[in-house]
Assembly symmetry: D2
Homo-oligomer: 134 residues x 4
């Protein structure tokens, strides 16, 4: 399967990414670009997007980029910091890039933007299993 | 306001924690215990809970524990690793403990359990603003 | 080889841990306790111990605890935050505990204390290779 | 004081960076480039550079980049992963870039290279105090 087919298959059964309204703008081996819109049901007690919303978009971007190589890949460690508050109607975009690819591991940085403004930064390490997507 | 009142006020307007079905079992200055159930709409493409679900529970536990001291506190850096897959019907519980409290910063570890099994570990640093809950 | 033999073999060739003056107080499968003293040549431009000194002690504690199981284990991701400044003559102690052990991965928390005071917190994930210590 | 003067002042009293043999190739507001050579006394029990050596170079690069703005800045959270083993004689170079600068916080990514090869990635958050370098 090619990266686009893999991401389609992953998205097809990904109920939470569907609830989030994630749109896949680009999918490749080691990269992905995703987009979504902040909705009222995603807010926390401060009236801004819950930190888990940007985490979710970044974590999905990580999964799509890593699995795009054709091997089942699972996250090992992830971290995120949030730089800007997000409000309903804001469109955010995640850009996943591969920093290093080893036999067993892949290392990724995912930046999240609202227009040109960096709103969150995520880093993730994945373990690459021996099982292929088919 | 006491910790219980603060958490009630935070939860009252926290649409996403409500969607998650988070129940506050304990709230205090520097600690919190939260619980929720995994539902089908929280699953990812592998048929297990999306990583953002456990992140969300832990991040809410962090916010409640840190704000329980009475000062508005915002997260600076967070990290999580996932140890066990979660399925619909699983009940997970987050226990937030304060590792260190400084004038400007608070440091927290949040362990997430399914029954007695550790399923995820989260660590978060918060910045303590000068604004009080009232 | 048992945990004590493994740590002895690792320490024997560990020039940097020797420069640091690390003493192994306890070594076991999944745990370790190390101690060292801050010296003037370990200070940074602020007159306190460079952050890499506590990192070094914690990273060694991680390596000893993880390799104590008998399989060559290498760190994948590590993080640390520093809570208290350290001065020459301070004795610091690292306590490594295993949070979870899987077939391929081990997850560890290392707390560093000066007497009873927590001065730094470290978390590390290791990959467990198939090569045994012998 | 300008960035170069600040870094000179920091380096002048930084005994550990001197032990490491760190050379400052570039110093600016929010950026820095440092270089050093791996020596035998920096090795761990596997015959490769101890993880704390690359951490040290990156942490110094963080401190120089952040303090280059003229305000005393201290690290809050740091993380690193190591991608390639390093041997005596290897020259490594740290490039610190500022991802975001806020009133109270600065966020930095430090990549470490051996020639063109990425050997470690570090991320650090600093708290910007109100005290100026003078």
């Amino acid at each position: 399967m090619n990266p686009t087919q893999i991401v389609e298959k992953m998205m097809q059964h990904d109920a939470f990414s569907q609830w989030l309204g994630i749109r896949v703008l680009e999918a490749g081996a080691g990269k992905s670009v995703l987009e979504m819109e902040i909705r009222p049901e995603m807010l926390n007690g401060f009236g801004i997007a819950h930190g888990a919303i940007t985490y979710a978009l970044a974590d999905s971007a990580l999964a799509f980029a890593a699995n795009g190589h054709g091997r089942h890949s699972v996250s090992v460690d992830t971290s995120i910091h949030h730089l800007e508050p997000l409000k309903p109607g804001d469109i955010i975009r995640a850009l996943a890039r591969e920093d290093a690819l080893k036999n067993r591991f892949g290392f990724y940085s995912i930046d999240i933007f609202k227009s040109e403004t960096l709103v969150a930064q995520f880093r993730g390490t994945v373990y690459r299993t021996e099982k292929n997507w088919e």
